[in-house]
Structure formats: structure tokens, C-alpha cells
Symmetry: none
Subunit: 190 residues, 4 copies
Amino acid sequence: MNERSFIYMPKSDNKSHLILRSALKLFATNGYSATPVSMIAKDAGVSQGLMYNFFPGKGELLRAMIKQGAADISESMQAYVTISNPQEAIRMHVTETIHIIKKKKEFWRLLHAIRLQGGVLDEVQDLFREIVSTVTKIFEKVFRQLGFDRPKLEAQLFLTQIDGLVIMYLQNQKFPIEQLGRQLIKRYVK
Amino acid sequence: MNERSFIYMPKSDNKSHLILRSALKLFATNGYSATPVSMIAKDAGVSQGLMYNFFPGKGELLRAMIKQGAADISESMQAYVTISNPQEAIRMHVTETIHIIKKKKEFWRLLHAIRLQGGVLDEVQDLFREIVSTVTKIFEKVFRQLGFDRPKLEAQLFLTQIDGLVIMYLQNQKFPIEQLGRQLIKRYVK
Amino acid sequence: MNERSFIYMPKSDNKSHLILRSALKLFATNGYSATPVSMIAKDAGVSQGLMYNFFPGKGELLRAMIKQGAADISESMQAYVTISNPQEAIRMHVTETIHIIKKKKEFWRLLHAIRLQGGVLDEVQDLFREIVSTVTKIFEKVFRQLGFDRPKLEAQLFLTQIDGLVIMYLQNQKFPIEQLGRQLIKRYVK
Amino acid sequence: MNERSFIYMPKSDNKSHLILRSALKLFATNGYSATPVSMIAKDAGVSQGLMYNFFPGKGELLRAMIKQGAADISESMQAYVTISNPQEAIRMHVTETIHIIKKKKEFWRLLHAIRLQGGVLDEVQDLFREIVSTVTKIFEKVFRQLGFDRPKLEAQLFLTQIDGLVIMYLQNQKFPIEQLGRQLIKRYVK
DNA sequence: GATGAATGAGGGTTCATTCAT
DNA sequence: AATGAATGAACCCTCATTCAT
């Protein structure tokens, strides 16, 4: 009988989660290709071989992470796609984006690092394209409601502006993204 | 003393350039870690061993590329740091940035891919930080001249906006960056 | 003391047999070294760990199989070693060999596959040598009874002839071994 | 300048041949799957990595060996497929087979070891099938010329007889294959 | 300057085996 | 008896780097 019988063991302590967590951290920091499986295993505190009981390979580990992240994004987007008040939609998008980026820094850092590179995982490119396309359509409508001349262009400017903020923050966490977010909102919301 | 002292024969420079060019292309496309030296040599049409006559190692190859790119950037920035007309400065920065990004897509794709990741090459982070810092200061002044309330914030918004456009374009070259650039200029320049 | 003491329930024997049967099939098909224990366990429908309750290791599994097979062979050989009529002995040996080979294809395929290779299991070599030696002696006598000039040579030819038929059949089950067996018998039996 | 400048260096000393030779020896002795690449490299006296300069992988190494062996067989078969005297054809086939088997023991041991097993290298099965098919046709004609009732059956018996001798010899090199070969020839040639 | 054969460290992965349950 | 999570050694292979030529 060992001590683990007595202590509470949260679900997140299960090995699969530990591995996923370490992999995310290391992939985000060093890059996917530059992170050996051995490093992940060591960081997760498991043997290297065990990894393959949970994930068929390094690639699947990445894929699992991306999939999970994509699900999170979808979920969080549900929160405001249905908002009818356009000013509120803008405000929500800015704050929600900042919120999710701060909560899942590592995931987003990884995503941005590989979104420019083919060959690692095509799903990432597809995922990004889809997010962008979906959100652009939503905000095209929003800016039309706000009476802008060229709503699509305006939506693109708005979204790339946020993209820029996010990247800057991911690169340097002391970047005042919240402050700039508020300033950005002011532009559209009196 | 070798014969090259007497005749101008940039033979080695040609090879060096070929290697650098191939490396840039491949690093930008596949990522630094995922690009074997053998691939670079083959693409450049030289032997693998020759590479080590020009660059002490794979890392130095990357470093050389970044250095060269940094020099290019500095040079191109010289063009408009001295502009006194603030509106013109904004216009110039937007058009110049778009111009340079289009001209050196691969370099910038590489730079953005690794700017979020430590461990690959700290110089990149430093380079970026410096660029951002310099340009921010310039545009803080510009926006002050334009009478903005919070010139630094405004400069940061302006610059991250451009950052966003650039990233979007690097990811998808069909992205209408020129059109959006013009639209962005209109915001500040009547 | 467990309940199984009271009812006859050869449960473990069943499992052991299942494992042995799967192992035989897979070793024969893929080869011993190329067959992972995991594959055997899955095919047998038991856990991988259970295997080690019956057999101390993969090697022992093979050894057990060979041992069991050797016993079967001995038993089947008993049927005709005592035959005094030489022509009948020849007829019996041919038909019995064909019969046993067809009945235990997998075992024989495995045996033949490793009989040429040292290092896997020396017992196999020994087993083969012994079979050959025993049978050769028997048929030396048989051919002497039949009045052959060089009975030992004749016995060896006879036995290698059968060996050839068997191998051919094991390699290609459409090979008409029965027909050829009858033809072979005709040579010696009017 | 090193000593190798002074000594004669036969073509067979080149690394590729060394590797091939070691691989053949080890595959024949231990079996393909049971022979690690590291063992081959050590036996050949080269680094493990170098192997991959000559052969894309372990499988290709085997394939190369088989291919080479197949070529040798074809060549040696050319010697007597054209013989018109049937008795001479039989004599030649027996002696030639024995000759080639003794000369290339290792190759044949390997070939026989894997001919019964799928999954290792399908080419082996195909190679065998083709050899058997070709030779059977030739000897069907031969036995027809000799006036046999069932020439195909007789050819098959003849060939499997040789097969049996070969296998026996490969298993035990003290087996008197030459003597038995002569005895076999006597059966058909007065 | 230029080559490419050669190396050795380390990469991802498999697998026989153990052991707590 | 039975499981399957866990391990570590070993496997095949890649790759940055060196060096004789």
C-alpha cells in the first residue's frame, strides 16, 4: 500500500495530462522540431517509453495538442458570435481574445510559431485559415451595422490589429496588451 | 598569400551567397531545426563540407543571415527616420514596410517564426526588441506632433497594426496588404 | 485456497494453450524475432503480463512449443518404427509424414525456418539432428532388407526426397504433395 | 600520406562490399530480424552511420543481397538451360547446384530461412517461385525426352530431391552431398 | 577552395519484461 | 489468476561536423 492511496489525486495528474502539459510548454518554448521526446518525458517525470502508451508518436502529441486547443477556441468563440449589438461585439472580441491569450499563452505561442511554416503540421495552417475566415465574416457584418463604408476592409484592419497585439504580447509578456486593448475599443465604442 | 589578392574574383562570395540564399529559403519554409545541412548544400549545389569553409556551423549560418537582414533593415529605416513631416512619416513607414516585406518575404517569415521562441538564437529576440524600441520612439514623437493625447499608446497601436498586417501577409500572400496599408494611412493622413 | 480446487476447471491450461497456439501461428508466419510478445498476447486475447505467469519469457515460449512438437513427432513415429515389412515401412513413412505435416503445418514451417539458423534455439538443431539420425537408421535397415547395395545412401536419398517435398509444400500449399508422395512410393513398392 | 597509398587495394575491399559481406554472413547465421545493424557495422569494421551512405536502410541491404544473389543464380542457370542432351542436363543440374550451393552457402542458407516466411521480403518468395517454375518447365521437357510417363511429376520429384539434399547440406555441412548427388545422377544416367 | 567518405552523438520508436494492483 | 501501466535497453536511422584528399 502506498501513500497515494491517501491523497487526493486530481484527474489532471494523470500521466497523459502531464505529458501533454510538458510537451506544450517545451514545444512553445523551443519549437516542435527542436524538442526531443526525451526532454518531454524528463520534464513530465515519466519514462520515454511510456509516452508511446498514450500517443502513437511525437507528431500525434502535437496533433492532440492542436486539436484540444482548437476545441477550446471554438468554445470560447461561441460566447460572442451571437452578440447582436455591434459595439458590444467589438468590445467582447478584444477582451475575450486578450483573456484567452493570457490564459493559454503557451498554446498560442506554439500556434503562432508554426503558423508560418509548412511541413510541421498542415492542420495548423488550416485551423488558422478557418478561424480567420470565420471571424472576418462576423466582423464584416458588425462593421456594416456600424455604418462603415468598406466593412470587410475595416474588419480586416480590426482583426489584424488584434493579431498584432497578441503577437507582441506573446513575444514580450510585459507588453501592456490590456491597456492597448482598451484604447483600441475606444476607437469604435464611444 | 594567395592569388586572389591580385585579381578581384569574388568566387567564394558567390558560393557563400548561394549557401546563404538556400539556407534562408529552407529555414523560412521548414524551420531552422527541421532543415538539415545536407538539404541546404544540395539546394545550393555545393558540397556539404564546403559550407564549413564559410560558416563554422549551422548556427553561424543562421546568425549570418540574421545579421545581414538586420543590416538591411537598418539601412531601409534610415530612409525615413529623419522625416520631419509626421503624416509623411506614417505614410512612409507603412509603404516602406510593405515594400521591404514583399521584397524579403523569406527573411521575414523566418524572423517571425523564431521571434517567439527562445533557445534558437537569442540575437533574434534582441534584434526584434531593438527594432520595436527604436521605431516606437520615433512614432511616439510623430504622434505627439500630430497632437495625440497618448502618443506612446498611439504609436504602439499603429506599429502593432502594421505587425498584424505583415504577419497576415506572410502567412497568406494573397492577403491584400497593399489595400489595407492604404486604408490604414487614410486614418492618419487626410 | 481458491474455489477452483473444487471444480475441475482447466482455466489456466486453456489460457496457456491459447497463448501457445497464437505464438505458434505468429512465429511460423512472421518468424520468431519479428513477432513481438504484444502481438501474441493480442492474438490470444490475454494480457501481455499474463504470458509471464505461464512462460518465463519469450524464449521459453518457443522452447515449450518445440518441446511439445517434439513429443508429437516421437509419438507419431512410434506408429511405424516397429513395422517389419520394409515396403510397408516406406509407404507408411511417406503417408504419415505427409499426414503430420498437413496437420501441423505451422509447427513445421517454424521448425524449418529456424533449423538453418543457430542462435535462435539450439534445441531445434539438436531435435532435427536426432530425428534425422533415428529415421536414417531405421531406413538403412529397411533398404538393406530390400536388398539395396548401399542402404545408408539409399535411406538418405529417400529421406531427403521427403524433406524436399515437405519444404516445397510448406512454402506453397498448392503443391501436389500427395500425388508426389504416391509416385515416390511407387518407386519402391510394386 | 598513409600506408594505403602503397598497398594494393582490391575492389572487394571497398566499404560497400565489406558491409554486404558482413550482412550476408550475419543474416544467414542469426536471421534477418535478429541481426541488428550495429552488429553488421561492427563486423564490417565501419561506423553504423556509414552503412546508410551505401544502403538506404536495413531492408535495402537485404534487398541488395537478394538481388545480387538472384543475378548470380540466373547467370549460373544459363550454363545448362540450353543443353539438349537430357541425361547431360540432369547431370549438370545436380553438379551445378551442388557447386553453387557450396560456393554461396551463406546466401542460400539465408534464402531458405526466409523463403517460408512472409513479411520479411516478398521478393524472396517471388524469386523462389520463379526459379522453381522455370526449372520445372525445363526438366519437364527433359523427362519427356527421356520417355517418362508423367514428365512433370518426375521433374518435380527430381527437383524436390535436390532441394532436400541442399537443405540437408545447408543444415549440416558434413552431410555427404556430393556422394548423394552422384548416386542421384546414377538413377537417371546409365 | 572543394569534395564526400566517415564518424558519433542523439533522434524517435519498439519491445521484452516487471510489478503494483 | 489476471491486468496493463511503467520501464529501460536496444533498435533503426539522421545529421552536424570532421578530415584526408
